[in-house]
Symmetry: C2
Subunit: 158 residues, 2 copies
């Protein structure tokens, strides 16, 4: 009896560790990664409520390969870095960070969402998650339109 409890506790612990491991990590150091391209989304744009401001895409080394070849290997990480904008005197300058969006490639683990795991970190927080288990509805419903591009919207701008 005591043994079965121990076994149950053991498996519960393994599951807990797995859940923690499954969480997409904050993309440390992404500001030093490859800058892919940028875009400004202004008031009136259908995505303004979610993505208004200026965003920059960054790619780690594996994702660079993906942008180049069209095939993103497992371990590819793409960051969508969204900043607020200050519009004054006929110039648009960068304001505070709104969210750090992350796509992590693992064809097997994230098979349900096109082989990509999605997460977002609020503002400058490395722990406040804004996607969590809602990737299928919050992210993939739009990304699915880009199936032919491995679900990635951006392409590398030379």
């Amino acid at each position: 009896m005591k043994l079965s409890i121990a076994i149950v506790l053991f498996f519960a612990a393994v599951v807990a560790v797995d859940a923690a491991t499954d969480a997409i990590p904050y993309p440390q150091g992404y500001r030093q990664w490859q800058h892919v391209k940028s875009m400004v989304i202004q008031p009136g744009h259908p995505l303004h409520a979610s993505f208004g401001g200026i965003h920059h895409l960054y790619a780690n080394d594996k994702a660079r390969t993906g942008y180049r070849t069209g095939k993103f290997p497992d371990g590819s990480v793409i960051v969508f870095d969204l900043l607020d904008v200050n519009t004054a005197d006929s110039a648009i300058t960068e304001g505070k960070r709104k969210v750090v969006g992350v796509m992590v490639r693992d064809a097997k683990k994230y098979a349900a969402t096109g082989g990509w795991g999605f997460e977002g970190f609020a503002g400058d927080s490395q722990t406040e998650r804004v996607v969590g288990d809602k990737a299928a509805t919050a992210c993939f419903t739009c990304h699915i339109a880009r199936k032919q591009q491995e679900y990635v919207f951006s392409s590398y701008r030379e």
Copy 2:
């Protein structure tokens, strides 16, 4: 007599090599450098004629040190990458490259312009120079205002 001609030709050749060496090289690979920050300059801005569009600043490793410490070591290179913009449907997207501006740090060689050499390459050309020997008037007259920041306008945006 023949010897003096040879000597003259020798020195002429040395001067020609020096002149070629002095030319600021195109910053090969800068798109893989550190992305520092970005900004959009719109119609109505006093610098629109020269710098209208979206620009990104990139720093090589030495210039990264400069942004961090406030002291740019010799060999620092900063690139001002200016792209045209397409404004449509409440979004600003990147268009064609207008100019690749370059600042190269060499305190001694460029002492007359604050220790920085300036050059610009038109569009995607790596050879069509738009500054040449006009750095003092075309670039430094504005950069001189930033003497306290070692003549650099941008600062690293985290």
